[in-house]
């Protein structure tokens, strides 16, 4: 029980700490400048000025740069062709190439976005100057350079901060693992101390409830703790109802406790119970869809996903924190959490049968 008090907050803080840098990265990028003009140097400088990229090294040849990319020393390689400035003046639209590490997708996407932006801005500046030189009147230059402009809005997460995605999904995933495991360990403690026979005795259901209720309260409070940490202390936007969220957390704790009890009572063995808990809860994060969307999952993945309480919880959390919509839209998620009454009743009937066998 003492472990249950300090371990979860410690893990929550550790997990947040990993991502505490937010999204200003300075990812190391290499440059092969075959042009050596003021334009190519401007391009290099503007890459370095981006908050995401840092020009780490210059290479004389593409082969040297590729080797550094393959060895993981740099995440991207900007190759500026020999006549960038010349071809730009002639209107031949030359293309610098950026090779970036697609194996590390999250990092690669950052490089892609930042590079497009840097090159887009610089190209528009150069194009604007050319249009002016051709004699286009200044107000019309913008229309010449960019006939259509786009204004991008990130709905519901103004910062589009990777840390927020990963932390707000990762904390509930760790929380689910903790609840399931601590439930197994709490029941195992009864087996170790007085023996299950004596504990379950005549009133098995009452014994189970008395045993687990303090954990319910504690783990529920710890759930509240990470919510307060994210939406209070860190000040991430939260537009919905705290009541709805807190209620969802209570149901999630109960659902996970039902699964934990079931895992232990299947064999009344703490080692096997924890192995099952591990197999069940460890890949939870992958199924929560904070990274890969559920709309692109096949049915076997969706079935497994629906068996994890935390996937229903995260829908409610995202819905409340980001959209702040009406809680009526959430009834399927709440209903799914209530369905964990089924494993709970299986666990109770296993315990009842065991206590009858003991009595007989």
């Amino acid at each position: 029980m003492a472990t249950a008090v300090w371990l979860p907050p410690l893990l929550f803080i550790l997990f947040w700490w990993i991502f505490s840098a937010g999204s200003s990265f300075d990812l190391p990028i290499g440059v092969v400048d075959l042009d050596h003009t003021s334009l190519s140097r401007t391009l290099t400088r503007q890459c370095d000025a981006s908050s995401v990229l840092a020009i780490d090294r210059q290479f004389a040849t593409v082969a040297e740069g590729q080797r550094a990319l393959t060895g993981g020393e740099i995440y991207g390689l900007l190759v500026i062709p020999a006549n960038l400035a010349n071809d730009t003046v002639k209107g031949l639209a030359p293309q610098p190439t950026v090779f970036y590490n697609g194996q590390f997708i999250l990092i690669g996407k950052q490089i892609n976005g930042a590079m497009q932006q840097v090159v887009g801005t610089l190209s528009a500046q150069v194009g604007g100057l050319q249009a002016l030189a051709r004699g286009t009147a200044p107000p019309a230059v913008v229309g010449q350079v960019a006939p259509v402009r786009g204004q991008i809005t990130a709905l519901f997460n103004r910062h589009t901060n990777y840390a927020e995605f990963l932390v707000s999904g990762g904390l509930p995933a760790i929380w689910q693992i903790l609840i399931v495991c601590l439930t197994v360990l709490a029941l195992a403690a009864e087996k170790r101390h007085g023996g299950l026979e004596q504990w379950a005795g005549r009133q098995p259901v009452r014994a189970l409830l008395v045993k687990l209720a303090p954990y319910t309260l504690l783990l529920w409070l710890q759930g509240l703790l990470f919510l307060v940490g994210m939406y209070g202390w860190l000040g991430w936007p939260m537009h919905g109802s705290w009541t709805v969220l807190i209620l969802a957390q209570l149901l999630t704790v109960l659902a996970c406790q039902a699964m934990g009890s079931l895992f232990f009572l299947l064999g009344r063995d703490e080692v096997r119970g924890l192995s099952l808990a591990a197999a069940y809860a460890a890949p939870g994060f992958a199924f929560m869809c904070v990274t890969f969307p559920a709309t692109d999952m096949g049915w076997p993945a969706l079935v497994w996903r629906s068996l994890l309480p935390v996937t229903h919880y995260i829908e409610i959390q995202i819905h409340q924190a980001n959209y702040g919509g009406s809680s009526l839209d959430l009834w399927p998620s709440f209903a799914a959490l209530l369905l964990f009454a089924v494993p709970a009743s299986v666990a109770v009937s296993l315990l009842r049968r065991f206590s009858r066998e003991v009595a007989a």
Binding site: L14, F15, W17, I18, D26, L27, R67, G71, G72, T88, A93, Q95, T97, V98, F99, N101, Q103, I105, I107, G108, M115, S123, A140, G143, P147, R149, G150, I152, T153, L155, F156, N157, T160, L166, G170, I174, I177, C181, L185, D269, V271, L274, S275, A277, A278, A281, A282, P283, F287, C289, V290, T291, F292, P293, T295, M297, P300, A301, R305, D329
Partner: protein, 383 residues
């Protein structure tokens, strides 16, 4: 007992314990199918987008057709106003983005006034957001380029020149190693190494912890009589052999099954896997000696999984990790193990480029091996 007899006794002890068999064989096999499950489609496609078209002209309809033609997004409906779009966004669910085409869009383009399209994506789901914005921006960029080309043609330029002149210069973005940016290729090669790492630690922890419990209860066994060095080498050999087969199953059959690239030669891969398994094995023996009850091995390993994944360097850039976390992660064999395997097998690095990681694995094997030997010997002396 001879060394071979100890090996045989260890082998029997492993297979006599259901929890170890369940974790080691069951876990590795089960996860080889469960873990790739969410990512089988590799990249998100055809995200639903609502369109608010205030213009309604031919050019705006052409833009809509271009949006529909991108693989990233599809138009799932139209709304009359932004307010209605917002309402449907919250009520209907399943909508990932909005495209607002302003009134006078076509006129402004013809007049060279550069109208502003508004794209919005649901940023609650980061991959969805990126996909929607990419799709909408591609469509708008294509339309913009066509308009420019048409304008240059009208000015009397030849088509080939006009087709190239629409921009001063552009950038050619080329992902390498995982050229399709597929999620299976991204997650699985790294996570599978971690699964081997974690299940091996649990298996060894259960075995060592279980024997500790038996010592405590006064049960007699072979592990109490053989010298620490013999017990350690036998245990590493038996677990190493089992895990060599399991590693071959993952990096061979599983990778081939999911179409994951295997660029390293068998010899290079083996050169990394051997110190990796020795380091993990020794760490597992250490954990087995330190835990008071065997089930704590499972708990410890399980709770370390997510922090280990995210500090291994393939998701979050290592340079952005807080320094204490970075150094703590270097203690786990999974950190150099995952990086060495990714670089050799997925990125095609030469062996000389991962020598640092390889040495780190050997160093871990030596330090944890020494520690394991000392702990085993200390227990024998206490007996």
């Amino acid at each position: 007992m001879s060394w071979w007899q100890v090996c045989r006794a260890e082998f029997k002890a492993i297979f006599a314990e259901h929890a170890i068999v369940l974790t080691v064989l069951g876990g590795v096999f089960f996860y080889s199918f469960l873990y790739p499950l969410p990512y089988l489609k590799q990249v998100p496609r055809e995200q639903s987008v609502l369109v608010v078209n205030h213009d309604g002209g031919a050019l705006s309809r052409q833009l809509e057709r271009m949006v529909e033609a991108t693989p990233q997004v599809r138009i799932s409906g139209h709304a009359q106003t932004e307010a209605e779009a917002r309402h449907r966004f919250l009520e209907d669910g399943g909508i990932a983005g909005l495209l607002v085409i302003p009134a006078g869009f076509e006129r402004d383009i013809r007049l060279g006034r550069s109208p502003v399209l508004a794209y919005a994506g649901d940023a609650s789901y980061f991959l969805v957001y990126g996909t929607v914005i990419e799709g909408l921006a591609t469509a708008a960029g294509t339309l913009g380029a066509e308009v420019k080309v048409a304008r240059l043609l009208a000015e009397g330029q030849a088509l080939p020149l006009a087709a190239r002149r629409h921009t001063a210069f552009s950038v050619n973005m080329r992902p390498v190693f995982n050229t399709t940016m597929g999620y299976v290729h991204y997650v699985i090669p790294a996570v599978f190494i971690l699964i081997l790492h974690q299940t091996m630690l649990i298996g060894l922890g259960l075995l060592g912890g279980g024997q500790g419990e038996k010592d405590h209860n006064g049960v007699r066994g072979y592990w109490q009589t053989v010298p620490a060095g013999v017990l350690l080498t036998a245990r590493l050999a038996v677990f190493g052999a089992i895990y060599l087969v399991l590693t071959m199953y993952y990096t061979g059959w599983s990778f081939a099954h999911y179409g994951i690239s295997r660029l390293a030669s068998s010899a290079e891969l083996l050169a990394v896997v051997v110190p990796f398994l020795l380091a993990v094995g020794s760490l597992g023996v250490v954990i087995g000696q330190l835990i008071p009850r065997r089930e704590l091995a499972t708990l410890l390993v399980l709770l370390s999984s997510l922090p280990l994944v995210f500090s291994a360097g393939f998701v979050w850039p290592v340079a952005s990790l807080p320094r204490p976390i970075f150094w703590a992660a270097q203690l786990a064999p999974s950190t150099p193990g995952i990086m060495a395997c990714l670089k050799l097998n997925q990125m095609g690095a030469e062996f000389s480029q991962i020598r640092g990681l390889w040495l780190q694995l050997w160093l871990q094997a030596a330090v944890y091996g020494g520690l394991a030997w000392w702990l085993l010997r200390r227990r024998l002396v206490v007996k």
